[in-house]
Symmetry: C2
Subunit: 236 residues, 2 copies
Amino acid sequence: MEATGSGEKGLHARVLESLGPAITAGDHPPGTVLRTDELAERFNVSRTVIREAVRVLESMHLVASRRRVGVTVRPAEEWNVYDPRVIGWRLAGRDRSRQLRSLTVLRSAVEPVAAGLAARHATPAQCAELTEHAMGMVATSRGQQLDAYLVHDVAFHRVVLTASGNEMFARLWEVVAAVLTGRTHHHVMFTDPDPAAVTLHVQVAEAIRTGDAARAEALTREITAGAMAELDVLAP
Amino acid sequence: MEATGSGEKGLHARVLESLGPAITAGDHPPGTVLRTDELAERFNVSRTVIREAVRVLESMHLVASRRRVGVTVRPAEEWNVYDPRVIGWRLAGRDRSRQLRSLTVLRSAVEPVAAGLAARHATPAQCAELTEHAMGMVATSRGQQLDAYLVHDVAFHRVVLTASGNEMFARLWEVVAAVLTGRTHHHVMFTDPDPAAVTLHVQVAEAIRTGDAARAEALTREITAGAMAELDVLAP
DNA sequence: GGGTCTTGAATACGTCGTACTTCATGGGTT
DNA sequence: AACCCATGAAGTACGACGTATTCAAGACCC
């Protein structure tokens, strides 16, 4: 029985969950060379395991492996910042607020357009799901139920992005989820959500249901603008 | 020995460049199981090499490796569609026009916002680069110089995305480049670029230089709208 | 008899250790 | 300065064993 607590995945996954965050956090500055033998000893695993982990890191453009040199850490500008794992690691790391801001800007660009498309393509089932979660947000918007509120909030945006019918938008729901949970856990947990935001969500659901694309887009733009304003208040 | 011609990278990279496109093209439908030993024999490489390639494929969520069952191809909805390599493979595959459309929609959401931000954050050097490429587009917009035009077009959008100051936007320049090159190579190569689009680029460069964010955003929105309309005309 | 549970063998991935190959790099030679 | 060679670390290969997961045969209960 392993008391590692790091889950029961393979060894390479454990190495990855250790090296990835370390690199994205800046523990190994760009240009640092990591030798596979050295890593194998440090993690008490075979070189094979290290190599597989390094391959994944390499596919994220976090490192570059070159003969006779070693595994060198690449500069942050080259990282695959859209990889969900990289996003997670950076969000857990040092400059999470900077990362949160970048992602919120991305949201503010994408979500309004996605909502507009959703108004044109959403199925009745998706519309029902949308109003359901909007009502769930209303029901949990008062009285320290932030966790329950968050669930509905995330689900709402996930449905919107999915209903847009664009796969690139749909795959961003994980990013939005990360931003929303990060936002919630970063706030002091004693303030209820902004009532105006709750109302906006209800109205977005309605606009999408009635096929009013322009209205859905404009309302979502208000939501994301609110999210950005919120960041400006709580930003370090 | 090897007359593969597939470049001088490592063996795992060669396996990847063969398996990746095959999967994204749908040659191995979701649910297909690939055994490592079988792959090792098919590619005449050791299981180690196959395992490293599979790790990368797994990190792209193209496949899932489970004990006692094998490497199973995952459904397309779970693929990491933001991975540049996945984008490239899909763009080279069967439904490239569908992919092109998805990416163009993404562009139309992101680029206008990025241009607006660029108007606020662009450095003088970036402004110079911008006007330089805009003029380059003008110079190459007539007389079958599509390749030269494309270089300036790609560079223009790369600078805009970079100048936005948002790393998530900046990293999308590869995607835009893929879309633009795909668009050009997909068209009949005998039609010069739309003069209106060229003018718009010049005006965007000017708007960013003068710090007129709203104008830069609106003009870029016109550019992306034009790109979408262009797709509707040439779509199969 | 039909259905559920237990048990055990088969199997394909996971990990390991070792030996060998391949070249970028750096230094020494001409 | 041009060239060549020794070096070192990643790349590849192979064989062995570990381990979880599946599937089916058989025991057991209803």
